[in-house]
């Protein structure tokens, strides 16, 4: 193929590297005012007094809004309702606060500087309520309640099973158990959130225009139209260049309601750019779960049964349902053949920032559980940890494979395709697994703690419901592609252009992708869940195919040549055996408009050389990966260094290997941050202890190792292009592979690694515990 599958340089880069990007904070609008929020300093409290007068009197302040002024605003909508879920969503400027960082008042002023001055002048008194912050505290009977109207903190009980794991476990030759304590992290795009709202009253109906750093402009439009009780055509939401998102910019937040609302109140455009501290204390977090899991295997290492019991936090609200632990529960078996499985996860409210999908979305947790249990079983059986994983994989000839579980969309979970054994073979070969095992022994003799971690896991990518695309040929011969998607760095402007260029055989530079604007395409679900290449990509493919048919029929008419004698090539439709007889796509676009005004339309095709089509997948395309990490733990400082990192991915047919490799590298780097450095920490009262980048450690170029990436391409049978998602998959194996490697490096000490992130201080504590236990054994 000429375009699809080629590592083409990104079309957007010259603009972004020369400072010509247009991010939300770069948009200048005459007369725009700035917003700043007063945020709660308590995790759970009732506002007893609030005095806005002094703030209102500060020169430059236009308006100050508190709970009274915002009393008529609705709670945020329930985005992923579930009959078993007790949903509590956030109310803008509520009188009762449920986590530190919740907005309680809003200032609109001539500049952000003045707005922040005014925030300091607001006088507020709280009556503190009992707060619950730690997940295990929230789960205890009699715990303080995160929401006073609830009988307990339980939001939902999730239960998934295959066969009868509890009975079957009794038949296992070896049973191992492990506890997993997975810390909370922030998505942390380098660009924070932000929006700019403007109302216009110069048209028949009021029109709201919102620029927003969002992953989902159409969803935002829907909620805004409901909030202001106007129809969707009166709301336009535009996602300009967006500086990364990773999940942070998918949910609809109270600020997204308050800024347009304030703009309506003050009659001027209002902008708000989140600062980093606000980001840490109000933008969604993820990962926090605790699991106690048990695996039974035969003497040969075959999986007999898997039982998992977990706790998950959803924070103070459910901005995205409780999708994250639901995904975890459905993916613990992952790439392995598991006939008997039981999983029970209780999801609890706590007085902390809400949790919603961060790149990986519950899958990194799932990947840890069975992979790490297999490590432990291999240790008991004196078997190689990669070998025990290999022995339990679903085989390439078993697809479509029904797991017996329900997927996150509530339908039976079916894996479409893959070649898991080949992933492992590639790791062994390209990662030089055997050589590293030998080196490890040599290092051990020198007193060096080197460990090798391995993992095999999957991601169910490309969920529905659908995406659409319009492909239009312009009179200039250029091709414009409109989609309902939005990009935050994934390079859609290039990869989606490659699809249209391939079908229509036009040079890539002649294809322009336009997206991230509700006025360009009627509806789109959004850019998350590794879905755009798969879903929008195939929508572009289908629409381009229609345009191609249209062009051939029209060219046959214009050139007076049978349609089947024609082909598209290099921006022309030409006669296959007589290329001199041709017409440009631009001329066809002009012709398709039907000639001079008043002329009777007599063409054999519909007007305009364009087509719109949709792609709705029947199920998820399964991306699979196997990673290997080699780490060294420095004996004195217990610093962990990644010596070698290899990742083998199967994302089906790749549209652009350069972009896909970049996605994996970025995902792995997020995973390494998650596994070794990053953690959002609250104290027991719900005070946030990590509210700046001085305490929340984002890995830099000196922490992230060189990564070796290998691609395997098993096409998905579920879409015409055969593609599978790639956006999140890089992050999924990393927690497991790093913990696996650290455990391997320190196995001889008797230490047990339960926690993520694995930090030197934690290792020190665990090593002391292990030494103590071994000491006791020795005494006995």
């Amino acid at each position: 193929m000429k375009y699809i599958g080629q590592s083409m340089k990104r079309k957007i880069d010259p603009r972004l590297t020369s400072g010509q990007g247009r991010y939300i904070a770069d948009i200048h609008m005459d007369g725009a005012l700035s917003a700043a929020f007063l945020r709660s300093t308590h995790a759970h409290a009732r506002i007893t007094e609030i005095d806005l007068e002094q703030a209102r009197n500060l020169p430059g302040v236009v308006a100050v809004f508190g709970p009274d002024e915002a009393a008529d605003l609705p709670c945020l909508p329930v985005v992923f309702p579930n009959p078993n879920l007790i949903s509590v969503t956030q109310r803008p400027l509520d009188r009762t606060v449920h986590h530190v960082g919740e907005p309680v008042a809003m200032v609109i002023a001539a500049s952000r500087y003045i707005a922040e001055d005014a925030v300091d002048l607001i006088k507020i008194k709280y009556e503190k309520l009992p707060a619950v912050s730690f997940l295990e505290d929230a789960a205890r009977p009699g715990a303080p309640l995160a929401h006073q109207h609830m009988a307990s903190n339980l939001a939902m009980h999730i239960s998934q099973s295959i066969g009868n794991a509890h009975e079957k476990m009794k038949e296992a030759d070896v049973v191992v158990s492990h506890r997993f304590e997975i810390g909370r992290v922030s998505c942390l795009p380098i660009e924070t959130r932000g929006l700019l709202a403007k109302w216009s009253h110069h048209q028949p109906e009021p029109v709201l225009e919102v620029y927003a750093a969002t992953q989902s402009q159409h969803e935002m439009r829907k909620i805004l139209s409901e909030t202001f009780r106007i129809s969707e055509h009166q709301v336009r939401v535009i996602a300009p260049d967006v500086g990364g998102a990773f999940g942070a910019k998918a949910p609809f937040y109270v600020e997204d309601m308050l800024v347009p609302w304030a703009s309506l109140q003050v009659g001027a455009p209002v902008s708000w750019i989140e600062d980093r501290m606000e980001h840490m204390m109000s933008c969604i977090h993820e990962r926090e779960q605790i699991h106690e899991a048990t695996l039974g295997v035969t003497r040969e290492g075959k999986i007999v049964a898997v039982i998992d019991k977990g706790l998950a936090s959803t924070g103070a609200y459910v901005p995205w349902g409780v999708i994250v632990p639901i995904i975890t529960s459905s993916l613990i078996p992952g790439p392995y053949r598991v006939t008997d499985y039981a999983c029970e996860i209780d999801v609890f409210y706590t007085n902390t920032v809400p949790l919603a999908p961060y790149r990986g979305a519950g899958r990194p947790q799932a990947a840890m559980i069975l992979n790490r249990l297999l490590d432990e079983a291999a240790h008991v059986l004196n078997m190689d940890p990669l070998e025990i994983k290999r022995r339990n994989l679903i085989q390439a000839d078993e697809f479509p494979y029904r797991t017996g579980l329900l997927s996150r969309d509530g339908k039976p979970q079916i894996y479409d395709s893959g070649n898991f054994p080949k992933l492992v073979e590639t790791v062994q070969l390209e990662g030089e697994y055997a050589r590293w095992r030998k080196l490890q022994e040599e290092y051990r003799k020198q007193g060096r703690n080197v460990g090798i971690g391995t993992v095999v896991c999957i991601e169910n990518t490309g969920f529905g419901n659908y995406e659409g695309a319009t492909v239009r040929v312009e009179d200039t011969g250029e091709v414009t592609v409109f989609t309902g998607a939005a990009t935050q760095g994934q390079g859609h402007e290039t990869s989606l252009a490659q699809v249209a260029a391939e079908v229509l055989d036009v040079p890539l530079e002649k294809v322009i992708v336009r997206e991230g604007d509700t006025s360009l395409f009627p509806y789109g679900t959004g850019t998350f869940a590794s879905r755009i290449a798969t879903i929008a990509g195939n929508a572009v493919y289908k629409a381009a195919q229609k345009v191609k048919q249209h062009a051939l029929r029209l060219a046959a008419h214009e050139l007076n040549v049978p349609e089947n004698a024609l082909e598209l090539a290099g921006g022309y439709v030409r006669k296959k055996d007589e290329p001199g007889i041709h017409i440009t796509l631009g001329a066809l676009s002009h012709a398709a408009k039907g000639g001079a005004p008043g002329k009777t339309y007599d063409l054999p095709t519909d007007p305009m050389l364009e087509a719109t089509d949709y792609f709705a997948p029947e199920g998820a395309a399964i991306t699979s990966m196997s990673d290997m990490a080699v780490v060294e733990v420095e004996p004195e400082t217990l610093q962990i260094k990644v010596l070698h990192y290899l990742s083998v991915h199967d994302s089906g047919k790749l549209l652009n290997p350069l972009i896909v490799t970049g996605q994996y590298q970025g995902g792995i780097s997020n995973g390494i941050g998650n596994a070794l450095y990053e953690e959002i920490v609250y104290d027991r009262e719900g005070q946030l202890l990590t509210s700046s980048l001085m305490d929340y450690l984002v890995p830099s170029s000196t922490e992230i190792p060189e990564m070796t990436i290998h691609h395997i391409e098993t096409p998905s049978p579920l879409n015409p292009l055969g593609v599978k998602g790639a956006g999140e998959s890089g992050s999924i194996p990393v927690l497991a592979v790093i913990q696996s490697a650290v455990q391997d490096a320190l196995r001889h000490t008797g230490v047990k690694i339960h926690k993520i992130p694995v930090k030197p201080l934690y290792l020190k504590e665990q090593l002391s515990k292990a030494a103590l236990e071994q000491g006791e054994v020795a005494i006995q």
């Binding site: 010259p14 590297t17 660009e191 001085m694």
Partner: protein, 169 residues
């Protein structure tokens, strides 16, 4: 005293050169240089990612040194000679070898950290025309990127170093 005069009496007049062009602006003493560049001079290529000097997105060259413009007040930049990402291209609009390198080697995804990365890398290559990968990693370790995992960035800086050495020969 009216509000207007109270405000204007707080303002300081500064003159600074940015990308070879001289500007004179009245700023509040507390206004950050990053805000002066972005809001007063409308040079929005310099991005603000944390406002506490950790992420490095706002890095610019000031009198030949890379500085975080969110940690400098505008008034401290009086008489300074500043280069921002908008000033990296040559006069005839040709991309700087670093900009080219980032394009060739997929050194950016969302592009938000890129201006700061470019300015830091620019300083590195001025002082070390042939850096090792290790040295590149060390040099850019004060600039956070959340998208690329840094590998493409290191490749891009290596690419630019090579191109700049070849040009110099």
């Amino acid at each position: 005293m009216t509000e207007k005069t109270a405000e204007s009496s707080r303002l300081k007049t500064i003159t600074l050169k940015v990308n070879h062009k001289e500007y004179t602006v009245d700023v509040e003493p507390r206004m950050l240089l990053s805000d002066v560049l972005r809001d007063e001079l409308r040079l929005t290529g310099t991005h603000v990612g944390c406002e506490h000097g950790v992420c490095g997105a706002c890095t610019i060259m000031m009198d030949g040194r890379p500085v975080r413009s969110c940690l400098v007040f505008g008034v401290q930049a009086d008489q300074a000679d500043i280069v921002t990402v908008e000033g990296l291209e040559s006069q005839d609009g040709e991309l700087h070898p670093l900009q080219k390198g980032f394009w060739e080697k997929h050194g950016l995804q969302c592009g938000f950290c890129t201006p700061g990365m470019l300015m830091t890398a620019c300083h590195l290559l001025e002082h070390n025309p042939d850096p090792s990968r290790e040295e590149i990693r060390e040099a850019i370790s004060g600039n956070l990127c959340r998208c690329t995992g840094y590998q493409g960035i290191v490749d891009a800086v290596e690419y630019a170093a090579k191109e700049m050495r070849e040009r110099a020969e």
